[in-house]
């Protein structure tokens, strides 16, 4: 902090920076509280489609996520560019969804299990075939509450 040379007789008193840590700490605490660290590494690129009538998921802790999209560039040599399903940290097939849902159910408390929502985060460019397969598998495991993840679009009336 450069000191301004006092040209006037009285001089402007130096700005006190003593409260700066307090302010910074305040912002810091805000971010610490509001942050939710990414639990899984994204292996697929997902750009969710736009929708205007979206509703917020009330219980974030009761959600299980299924990612669908093309593998990230570094994985494409191994897995190709076709749309893949990602559960937790690895590429999976439709047949693994059953175990995934069962495992997710176990992590929720007994009373909340029926409210578990499966959030499908699918890229807007995937085809419905893979989504339909997922939906059928979810029906078979009777995880019936689903959500198509979407981002907010402007209302065009």
């Amino acid at each position: 902090m450069a000191k301004f040379s006092n040209k006037g007789k009285k001089g402007v008193p130096a700005l006190s920076t003593a409260s700066l840590p307090d302010i910074v700490f305040m912002i810091l605490f805000f971010f610490m509280v509001s942050t939710s660290m990414r639990q899984t590494d994204r292996l697929v690129t997902v750009k969710v489609p736009e929708a205007s009538e979206i509703a917020k998921l009330e219980r974030k802790d009761l959600a299980a996520y299924i990612y669908v999209g093309t593998p990230v560039p570094s994985m494409q040599a191994q897995f190709g560019t076709d749309a893949r399903i990602q559960l937790n940290d690895s590429f999976k097939t439709v047949n693994d969804i059953r175990d995934f849902i069962a495992a997710e159910r176990e992590t929720k408390s007994e009373v909340d299990r029926q409210f578990m929502t499966v959030s499908i985060k699918a890229d807007e460019n995937v085809r419905m075939g893979i989504i339909t397969d997922i939906k059928q598998e979810l029906r078979r495991t009777s995880a019936l509450r689903i959500m198509y993840n979407a981002r907010k679009a402007e209302k065009n009336n």
Partner: protein, 192 residues
Amino acid sequence: MARPVQEINAGSMADIAFLLLIFFLMVTTMDIEAGLQRRLPPMPDENQKVDDIKINRRNILVVRINDADRLFAGGQLLDVSQLKDKAKEFLANPANDENLPEREDKVIEGFGSFAVSKGVISLQNTRGTSYKTYIEVQNELVKAVNELRDEFSLTNFGRVYSALDEDKQRIVREAIPQNISEAEPKDTGRNR
């Protein structure tokens, strides 16, 4: 030994705090979880005999999206922008048209009798339909229902649906149900 304890310089505290702040700024993800919520129909039991629920043809609006993302509603080729009005007309049926769904008088608790539409929108897609179009269509259908609910709320309670309290929202939901069914997948279209 008797030296007075030197005061710790707190000037660098700001730097430390900034460091932490920047760290949290980087790792934070504030994406809100939002989307279109749906309930899937339960899987029919294989041993159980499939009881044929005959839905009258006038009560069902088939919305079909094909491989090329073209939209058909009730056998008509439509643009996505036209779908909302079509769905609203179908669900509301204000003139009691013969070709539009029946309306059944139902007693809603706390409101009284209301002619609830029996219309069901059946959404069908092929394996080649793009997800984007599918969500777009879903969104239009939800929008149609939401607008009908808002109209109902405005005429009966003088406020939009979202501004009503829980109990009134339930009444509106019962009066204007969201009957969008996702049909059993049909093996039409190319496998992709």
